[in-house]
Amino acid sequence: MRHIDMSSPEDANMATTFYLAESASDRLLLVIEAGPSSHDDVATLAETMTDEGWNVLHLAVTRIANATAVAVTINDALSRATTQLVSTSTRPSRIVAVADGAVAALSACLAVLQSHRQENLPTIGGIVTVDASASTPATNEISNIAAELAQLDTLVTVIATRRSSPAVRRGGMSYHQLLQANGRETHFVVLAENGLTLFQQLADARDPFGREVRWLLDPVHSRNVA
């Protein structure tokens, strides 16, 4: 598996690794993780997804003090990954971001908004948040971002929550329903308690979460002509 360490020596809080698909691909999966990560899980996820034809940009953020600053860093990494892809194959046209945890999700949502606003950035077309409504840093800020995201008619979302917290589930469902009310394509899924980590579930195409995220990556419909 080909990969490039894109971490910036000036930012000790963020480790960025870019895994390249086995063959030239315009698909990019952006994974944003807050807190410590398991190297094995990341490697398994990256290996599976690159086999399935996705480039994977993994960002591990050890400390998020400012979601806006992290969003800028995410888009900087996205921009550098795009440059890398253009030099080897093509500009990414299908980008899906996955973010675990409230602050990571907030940063990712801001990055999505920036990517839609700025012409020089490739547009992020799908976002998967996990437990985005857990212990929120600033409720008003999240409400404003949620309302703005709901206006993006090309954005498809998966709102995932862990099973154990009813409050987080209600929060996720509430945002999902807001998107539905705006006519947006949105999936709500509660993660299975099957002893697997989030990345293990994501890597498994037969897992309900892994399957749902793949729906964003490759929708199954009758309009395909195989």
Binding site: R169, F188, S222
Partner: protein, 220 residues
């Protein structure tokens, strides 16, 4: 609160399935799958698989004919499936029970006909179109199933009935109204593959236009 209102914190899966699209719902034992026809007259082809062995899959004919009558009740091979009836697999595993059929006329679901497919569309002058068979095959491909492994589906809300006098089956527009739904309670761990039927040519299966349906899974 209506008896049919779902508590938000009981929902484990929720998705409005767009027209001409497919999705999977994973339903654990005791969980309920609800499929709501949002606009009315829309058919959804449903295949059910035993998650622990996906080759063990829905048999609509066994579901009609291998049920066990209650004591004192006479066995009759059924031509339709109603609330209380069980969906049975090809090796007679009980998969799901029909919990509710919320429509003015209950039991209007086809359990005899096989799905639309590429060949059907091609034969009738619509080459390149994919049918429910192709959609469900794609959905089940990660589980190691091939197109030839896909069973006959239960075609929810499809108005397909037999005319004994004429000696053939009749396809008519559905009878569901907006908001009508059907619910299934899982007996074993199930994978449910759904294809929101794309048929808008050949036969009036889905009324005048294909429309979205709401797919929800609720825990107890």
């Amino acid at each position: 609160m209506s008896a049919h209102t779902i508590q938000p914190d009981k929902i484990v899966y929720d998705y409005i399935l767009p027209a001409k699209t497919g999705c999977l719902a994973f339903v654990a034992p005791g969980e309920t799958l609800r499929i709501t026809d949002l606009a009315g007259l829309q058919v959804v082809d449903m295949a059910v698989f035993n998650r622990s062995n996906p080759r063990d899959k829905l048999s609509t004919s066994y579901s009609r004919t291998r049920y066990k009558p209650a004591p004192g009740q006479k066995f009759v091979p059924r031509d339709k499936l109603l609330p209380g009836d069980t969906l049975i697999s090809t090796i007679c595993t009980p998969l799901m029970t029909i919990k509710t059929d919320h429509a003015e006329r209950v039991g209007i679901h086809d359990v005899h006909n096989r799905m639309c497919n590429r060949e059907l569309y091609e034969y009738y002058g619509h080459p390149g179109r994919r049918g429910c068979h192709e959609v469900i095959s794609d959905l089940m491909q990660p589980f190691g199933l091939l197109p030839e492994d896909i069973p006959d589906t239960m075609d929810l809300f499809m108005n397909y009935h037999h005319d004994c006098g004429k000696g053939h089956w009749i396809i008519e527009p559905g009878v569901t109204k907006a908001g009508d739904f059907i619910e299934f309670e899982a007996i074993c761990d199930c994978i449910v593959a759904l294809s929101n039927c794309p048929m808008d040519v050949i036969a009036p299966v889905n009324g005048s236009t294909c429309s979205p349906v709401h797919v929800q899974v609720m825990e107890q």
